[in-house]
């Protein structure tokens, strides 16, 4: 049976709605940001829902207060706003305070990378992996389709601590027809390769899948790892896999060479896999106001499927 693709947020919020029926300690807070499933939560659990208005700083502070009183909190807003508008609230009241108080606050940021295609750079989000990764103890989770997004719910509700969920704003093709495949995973090795392994996260796993298929037609077998968990330390879980390769290509829909996925993998491999060649692909840091489709935007910053395939082909020839 084929799973019909839906938005990550709707898949995840459906899990929350289901869980709220049994677990009275789940509280949902948003900064005036909705979704069709959120309408159900608002209607059915009004006593465990609050909309703080367009006020992300207060969203984090209120979420902190709710969590201090024992609620498992899901706080929901557009990705750049829930990460950057209120960064110090997240740092002080979630990252710092959670060192001495048990807090379960899950920040759901919608609009990873270029996913708000025509809304421009205010709504697009290329810095969040770097910023959230920099906070000690912050779990950073980045699914690649709605099935893998939904699979993260169990971790969020069961594990104490602050977490950031980086969701795409668009409905993306389903990559995991079998839900079990994505459940409770730091990563999924979608394909094994010969010399090169791509490590991608979020939407770039969708791109990497296409790159892999293009290269396979040319008899270049490239591995593909879909990394969901970008938290500090998660790269160590790739050790045995990395040992099989000569080169790794990281792919992220975020600024490159600024401490994102590239640094996450690169700093680990530098220490533990010094002979591994690295190629980091992402968005060259800049802000663009030109409109285009997501594919055109990606082409303009060197993240098109064919461009990436060519780069990997050259890398392969050099190994």
């Amino acid at each position: 049976m084929t799973i019909k693709p839906i938005a990550m947020r709707d898949a995840f919020l459906e899990e929350i709605w289901q869980a709220m029926q049994k677990d009275e300690t789940i509280f949902f807070a948003c900064a005036d940001f909705g979704s069709p499933v959120l309408d159900k939560i608002r209607a059915d659990f009004a006593d465990r829902f609050v909309n703080v208005g367009i006020a992300e700083q207060n969203l984090i502070n209120v979420a902190t207060g709710l969590a201090l009183e024992g609620y498992k909190v899901f706080a929901y807003a557009i990705a750049p706003f829930i990460t950057m508008r209120c960064y110090e609230q997240v740092r002080v009241n979630l990252a710092l305070l959670s060192k001495v108080r048990p807090l379960n606050v899950n920040l759901i940021g919608v609009g990873a990378g270029y996913s708000y295609v025509v809304s421009g750079p205010t709504h697009q989000c290329y810095e969040d992996i770097t910023l959230m990764r920099a906070l000690a103890g912050m779990k950073v989770l980045s699914p690649s389709d709605h099935v893998s997004a939904k699979a993260l719910f169990k971790t969020c509700v069961e594990q104490t601590g602050p977490k950031y969920l980086r969701f795409d704003a668009q409905v993306l093709p389903v990559l995991y027809e079998d839900e079990k495949q994505a459940a409770n995973q730091t990563y999924v090795e979608r394909h094994t390769g010969q010399k090169i392994c791509m490590i991608a996260t979020g939407y770039m796993t969708q791109t990497a899948q296409k790159v892999r298929d293009v290269l396979a037609q040319q008899n270049i077998e490239v591995g593909l790892v879909d990394l969901f968990d970008l938290s500090q330390g998660s790269a160590a879980q790739l050790d045995s896999l990395l040992a099989r390769y000569k080169a790794v290509v990281t792919l992220e829909e975020g600024f490159i060479n600024c401490g994102g996925l590239d640094a996450h993998i690169g700093s680990h491999t530098a220490a533990h896999h010094p002979n591994l060649r690295l190629m980091h692909l992402g968005v060259t840091p800049n802000y663009h106001f030109e409109l285009g489709t997501r594919s055109e935007l990606h082409d303009s910053v060197g993240l098109g499927v064919d461009t990436i395939a060519d780069k990997i082909k050259s890398l392969s020839a050099s190994l």
Partner: protein, 273 residues
């Protein structure tokens, strides 16, 4: 526990002395800010306003007291020790390696609820706590102490709007209105005046008192705590930064000033003849 006003006044005098003594041992502490808030804390903790349990600081039956102007609450160190949260001996170790009593209090200190070194966070968190308690139908109250300079942080005003929207009459803001931030008088920097009118316009029940009259503070807080008017309450305490210390009191740059050790010695001697 007593609410006899002269007992509260005596306690305030003792806290003032202990706070000066701490500053002499640990000049990294912010003395002037901690001298404007003494009577407020004494009224809260010795006047049966805040319900607390030193043996179990996070006991669910406690009222929540969130100190947002952390640096200006060094006077809480002797109060918490006196109430049994930790040993009086610990007051000798403020700012020393290995102690939990830092130059700015952190929630590793029994009796502190949240992180407060960065200003402008306490009221918003208190709003979340107050909402949680309301939704759980708890009768516990939430007190939050801010400075007036701290109100320059915009997140406070997000919280102020939020609290009245949700009728958080279990939330009680106390503003240590010493009218001086780090670089001078708040009126010369960004004025809050008329602060009472502004808070009233935002839907709060507001009172103003002499912030060094512990009886007046106690009376106002007793009334506000039980008002249940459907409005969050604010108590503007008119205070003096650096109160009682010549050269410090109401000095525009008092925030970062310390009296000389000899002056502290003579002030303590004068207070305890």
């Amino acid at each position: 526990m007593t609410t006899a006003i002269n007992d509260l006044e005596a306690k305030a005098k003792w806290v003032w002395c202990e706070t000066l003594a701490i500053n002499k041992r640990a000049p990294e502490t912010r003395l002037a800010s901690s001298l404007s808030s003494i009577e407020i804390f004494v009224a809260l903790y010795y006047g049966n306003i805040v319900r607390f349990n030193p043996k179990q600081p996070l006991d669910d039956t406690r009222d929540r007291c969130i100190i947002s102007k952390g640096h200006g609450s060094i006077c809480m160190y002797p109060i918490l020790a006196d109430l049994g949260y930790f040993s009086m001996d610990e007051l000798q170790n403020v700012c020393k390696a290995g102690s939990f009593l830092g130059g700015i209090p952190d929630p590793v200190i029994p009796g502190y609820e949240t992180v407060n070194g960065s200003l402008g966070h306490g009221l918003g968190v208190a709003g979340g706590v107050a909402l949680a308690l309301k939704r759980k139908k708890s009768d516990r109250q939430v007190f939050v102490m801010t400075g007036d300079g701290e109100l320059h942080e915009g997140a406070n005003w997000e919280a102020i709007m939020f609290a009245s929207q949700h009728k958080l009459d279990n939330l009680h803001l106390i503003i240590d209105n010493n009218q001086i931030s780090m670089l001078g008088y708040t009126d010369d920097i960004v004025s809050h005046k008329p602060l009472e009118d502004r808070l009233s316009a935002f839907g709060w029940d507001v009172k103003t008192v002499d912030g060094h009259n512990v009886g007046a503070i106690h009376a106002a807080l007793s009334e506000q705590k039980h008002a249940a008017s459907g409005k969050p309450t604010a108590l503007i305490a008119r205070t003096l930064k650096g109160r009682g210390v010549p050269g410090l009191e109401n000095a525009p740059l008092s925030h970062i000033m310390n009296p000389k050790p000899e002056l502290i010695d003579s002030l303590l001697k004068e207070a305890n003849p």
